[in-house]
């Protein structure tokens, strides 16, 4: 590897906007994470509720979405929702694809958020729920005031894993015509196959830089927030 190789490789950065592509992945992750957290929380409450029909609906959602490949969901959002059913989330062409991909990522990861929260519910000792019932709280107040706040704190680590998976899975948006990092990497390699290794390691490193802080942050948060018993 000589200076020529390096300068050839570095000249690619003036032609391709690599940070912009990564910024798309970060935005996809951010919006999908928020929506997935909301849907996932509702699903988790449904799955621990006393109403059998709610429990059934919640577990059906989780079982269906968790066992479907994300690629199918993203392809469905674009080929099914948009081109067949005419669901349009934005008048701007590219923004529309972006929002459809966010939708696909969110509904898929909501199933995993739900499972993470359920594992969080398991960290709350039984006695707490019994005590809540003993002082006369019904299901919803128990869930809202006692169980969920502690469940969230106990679920930080699995929620972090879901967030990491989401950040990596945001590359699958390439199947939905979103111009993000994996698509740009493909274009760059096709344009300059001679520096393929440098290109791959640049993009791989980009994801390592995104993923490792999330992992470190959630690990330290889960320690700090853990309810000491």
């Amino acid at each position: 590897m000589d200076g020529d190789y390096l300068s050839q490789f570095l000249s690619l950065f003036s032609q391709f906007d690599v940070p912009a592509a990564f910024w798309v992945n970060i935005k996809l992750t951010f919006f999908a994470a928020i929506i997935a957290l909301v849907i996932g929380t509702v699903l988790a409450v449904m799955r621990i509720s006393p109403l059998p029909s709610l429990r059934w609906a919640g577990s059906t959602y989780v079982n269906l979405l968790r066992n479907t490949p994300l690629t199918i969901i993203i392809v469905f959002c674009v080929l099914g929702l948009w081109s067949q059913l005419g669901v349009t989330l934005s008048s701007d062409f590219n923004e529309n694809f972006f929002r459809l991909a966010v939708l696909g990522l969110a509904v898929y990861h909501a199933a995993f958020v739900c499972e993470a929260l359920r594992s969080g519910v398991n960290t709350v000792p039984i006695g707490q729920a019994e005590a809540a019932r003993a002082i006369g709280l019904g299901f919803l107040p128990t869930a809202r005031l006692i169980i969920l706040p502690q469940a969230f704190r106990g679920a930080v680590a699995p929620l972090g894993n879901t967030l990491i998976a989401l950040a990596k899975n945001s590359t699958v948006a390439a199947a939905g015509s979103v111009a993000e990092a994996s698509g740009l990497m493909k274009t760059m390699i096709e344009f300059r196959p001679d520096v393929i290794f440098a290109i791959f390691f640049t993009f791989a490193l980009g994801f390592v830089i995104i993923v490792i802080p999330i992992g470190l942050a959630t690990t330290s948060l889960s320690r700090r927030l853990a309810v000491t018993r």
Partner: protein
């Protein structure tokens, strides 16, 4: 589902009546949403019988769906075998007494867990045409790329499972092995890892679901797997939506069967070892299924 939960009391007659009504109301809401969606689909002409009947014909299965499914299962099968070998190798590497082997295995495992599978697939797929291996035909590049990328990622996950499995064993196991005169590597090989693998089996089976799902990433690099073939079929008949739905159902059925298999396998094989005897703490939710690590 849960027979007994401590989050709420066993319902009395009044609560049962109220729950029945709420069940009916919620059922109506769900049915209402379903009717709304179906009406919308009907208005777009997506419910027309001729869009669905092609899937009842043998030719659709013979020419598209079954070859696609075979390619999906082939990639998944090869990836499972490869991941097991990779995972065992690097899992043992991370437990090695030599610091160099430990560090190197650690870097490899952490790197491949952090990089998106799709990124590796695209890299290997485009990279293969650069190096010109005479053994491979260009038509085989997508399969090799799918399998290799899945092995690198899932193998790393397996390696972590092996490591955590060995760590979760009671320390007495190793002490006993050393006491009867086995060396550390021997104890690892013939005492600790076999038990760890059995303890980790449910998690391993759950990971198979991840492998099978991720073969669908091959769609993006033109591997002719189930999703790709379903799309081809949908293009040919003008029923993309229906073709995607059929492909999704096939995936869901196989994966659901695998998730059901995981606890069963754990129970069957768990009886054969007495390694883990610590009782689990009682939990608020009666049954927690092992969620695929993803």
């Amino acid at each position: 589902m849960t027979s007994q939960s401590v989050l709420f009391d066993a319902p009395g007659p009044k609560a049962r009546r109220r729950m029945m009504w709420l069940n009916i109301v919620f059922g109506l809401v769900v049915a209402g949403i379903a009717v709304l969606v179906l009406a919308q689909l009907g208005a777009k002409g997506q419910l027309a019988a001729d869009l669905w009947t092609p899937f009842l014909q043998w030719s659709a299965w013979e020419n598209f769906l079954i070859p696609g499914l075979i390619n999906t299962l082939r990639a998944a099968g090869l990836a499972i075998i490869g991941s097991a070998v990779f995972g065992l190798l690097f899992g043992l590497g991370r437990l090695s007494q030599s610091r160099i082997i430990r560090t190197l295995s650690g870097i490899v495992v952490e790197f491949f867990r952090a990089v998106p599978v799709l990124l590796m697939m695209i890299f290997i797929w485009l990279g293969l045409s650069q190096v010109n291996i005479t053994m491979l035909r260009p038509s085989e590049y997508p399969l090799v790329a799918v399998v290799a990328a899945l092995i690198l990622y899932n193998g790393s996950v397996f390696a972590e499972l092996v490591r955590s499995g060995v760590y979760s064993l009671p320390r007495g196991q190793r002490e006993a092995a050393l006491a009867v005169g086995l060396t550390r590597p021997q104890s690892l090989r013939s005492v600790e890892v076999p038990q760890a693998l059995i303890a980790m089996l449910p998690a391993l089976v759950s990971q198979l679901v991840v492998i099978l799902k991720d073969t669908a990433l091959g769609y993006i690099i033109t591997y002719r797997e189930l999703l790709q073939e379903a799309r081809g079929l949908g293009n040919a008949n003008g029923n993309i939506l229906q073709a995607l739905a059929v492909a999704a159902v096939i995936f869901i059925v196989i994966n659901y069967a695998l998730t059901k298999l995981a606890p069963w396998v754990g129970q069957r094989l768990g009886r054969r070892t007495s390694g883990r005897t610590k009782a689990e703490a009682p939990s608020l939710i009666a049954a927690t299924k092992g969620a695929p690590t993803r």
